[in-house]
């Protein structure tokens, strides 16, 4: 579960990225966080992942209070999250299998656990036949599925996808979003940050719109229509 209560964030250069954001995402939800560039979407993600700290307000992520979390606790908080990036961020020198095992070993999983878990996750994303391929040998959609597999491999309670379809064509984007929907149906909370309104409108999910550092709408089952919000 995520809770942001009156969260403000001002960067060192004086930019006020968030101006009193309140947001609650319960376990098992699928949420789109939408908004134009510079609206504060990335700042919300960075706050949730512990990359930056809020200037003011309270944040709770999966039972961890980020307002007073010690630096030593942040890795353990991050283990409850699976993060997917627009640019995939796969290690080019490692195979698909090694990319996943790398993520598992990073949190201290044993080789036996790695061998048991990875085939299951690769099957879930439809890449069981490509475990020994390198990222450069895969299409963009396949690379993003590897990134999703990596986010899932440590069995997090929440997946955070930051513009996961930004580098993909519409067909691959739809496949990726459908995969995230399926993962959500299996019980994992999913938060997708995007500005692709057509894609958002294809799914009947909760849509939280942020603009100029403030949440301007939060509609469950609603759709994203930028023109209507202006």
């Amino acid at each position: 579960m995520i809770r942001l209560i009156d969260v403000f964030k001002e960067y060192d250069n004086g930019t006020k990225a968030l101006k009193g954001v309140n947001l609650r995402i319960d376990d098992g939800e699928f949420v789109f966080l939408v908004g134009p560039s510079g609206s504060g979407k990335s700042t919300v993600i960075k706050l949730i992942t512990g990359e930056i700290a809020a200037t003011e307000g309270r944040l709770m992520v999966n039972g961890y209070s980020l307002s007073n979390i010690s630096p030593r606790q942040i890795p353990y908080m991050r283990r409850t999250l699976g993060i997917i990036f627009q640019d995939f961020r796969l290690i080019e020198k490692k195979t698909v299998y090694e990319n996943l095992s790398f993520a598992m070993r990073a949190i201290g999983a044993s080789p036996r656990e790695v061998r048991r878990r990875i085939p299951y996750v690769l099957q879930l994303v439809g890449l069981e036949q490509k475990a020994d391929r390198y990222p450069g040998q895969l299409s963009g959609g396949e690379q993003q599925r590897v990134a999703i597999a990596r986010a899932l491999v440590n069995n997090p309670s929440m997946i955070i996808a930051d513009e996961p379809t930004g580098n993909l064509d519409p067909q691959r984007s739809l496949e990726i979003m459908s995969l995230l929907e399926r993962i959500n149906e299996l019980g994992t909370t999913v938060l997708v940050v995007t500005h692709e309104k057509n894609l958002v409108n294809l799914f009947s999910k909760r849509v939280v719109a942020i603009e100029n550092g403030r949440i301007i709408s939060d509609e469950t089952g609603g759709y994203y229509n930028e023109e209507e919000k202006v």
């Binding site: 992942t49 990359e51 030593r72 890795p75 353990y76 908080m77 991050r78 283990r79 999250l81 993060i83 961020r89 290690i91 020198k93 790398f102 993520a103 070993r105 990073a106 949190i107 201290g108 999983a109 044993s110 656990e113 990596r150 440590n154 069995n155």
Partner: protein, 297 residues
């Protein structure tokens, strides 16, 4: 999922493999470590040899203690035990009046005035060597207080000169070595920082997956350790070759034939230990300094 706290096998494997996957940077780091150790080692060996040579010269330094005229030779010889019991006295040699006169005449054979000189104009004496030249004053004072010793003759200025030269040599060597260690540490840190820069993405991914700082650091520590050790071993053998080569030049040089050098073999164990220790310190320290900023994710 069971989480292990310390996975030594994984850290070693990752650290070892990354040496080869980032081969060029590893090669550069080893070269830097070898160069730094060679410079430090050469300075140290010069200092050690200088100290050794000064030690040899110090051993030549002696002072004389003259026995009271009223003492017979037998009584004078009896003082030897008392003198040997004085702290810092290394060696005591009794010289009779006759022997002293012979020594005096040596080299002055063509001076007829000395032919009839009786031995009684001189006194029985002791030639005394000390262990620590820095305590020469205290030791000679104690010798002077022994009953039966009428006078002493000490060249304090020469002794102080030796002490001064040795202290300066040691001080300069210590300061230079300390500066070189610090410089080496930063050179290695920058070399490893460059290597780490290529892997900042890997580190960021590990951190995003929930890896602790310790987990991220350990493979780099292992890598730094192995690079340091490798550099130390190369430096040890390279230093050996250079030392032997310089030794031969010094021995062959006519003007420097008086200089004696310690054999590399006699110092090999110490040099290897110091090189390995310093190499590993530089490697591990450099790794930790280099990786520090990439952990702030």
């Amino acid at each position: 999922m069971k989480k292990r706290r310390f996975d030594a096998g994984y850290y070693f494997s990752e650290g070892f493999h990354s040496i080869f996957t980032h081969g060029f940077m590893s090669f550069a780091a080893v070269c830097m470590i070898v160069a730094c150790l060679l410079i430090m080692g050469s300075f140290s060996l010069v200092a050690v040899n200088l100290d050794h040579m000064l030690g040899d010269l110090e051993k030549e330094n002696e002072f004389l203690a003259y026995v009271d005229d009223s003492y017979s030779e037998e009584d004078a010889r009896a003082l030897q035990t008392k003198l040997e019991a004085i702290p810092n006295v290394a060696q005591v040699t009794f010289v009779t009046r006759a022997e002293a006169l012979d020594e005096f005449k040596a080299g002055r054979e063509e001076n007829p005035l000395l032919d009839d000189l009786p031995a009684t104009v001189l006194r029985d004496r002791y030639r005394i060597h000390v262990d620590d030249i820095e305590q020469l004053k205290e030791t000679s004072d104690q010798v002077a207080q022994v009953e039966g010793i009428a006078d002493i003759s000490v060249a304090y200025e020469i002794a102080q000169g030796f002490v001064l030269v040795r202290n300066i040599a040691t001080g300069v060597a210590v300061v230079l070595i300390a500066i070189l260690v610090v410089v080496s540490l930063f050179i290695i840190a920058n070399t490893i920082k460059l290597a780490t820069f290529y892997r900042r993405e890997e580190i960021a991914i590990m951190k995003m997956c929930g890896a602790t700082n310790a987990f991220v650091q350990w493979p780099f520590v292992v890598e730094g350790f192995l690079l340091g050790l490798t550099g130390a071993l190369f430096a040890f053998f390279a230093q050996w070759g250079i030392y032997e080569m310089v030794g031969k030049v010094i021995v062959q040089g006519n003007g420097l034939s008086l200089l004696t050098m310690l054999s590399y073999g006699s110092m090999a164990g110490t040099i290897l230990a110091v090189f390995c220790g310093t190499g590993m310190l530089i490697g591990v320290g450099g790794s930790l300094i280099a990786i520090h900023k990439f952990l702030q994710v």
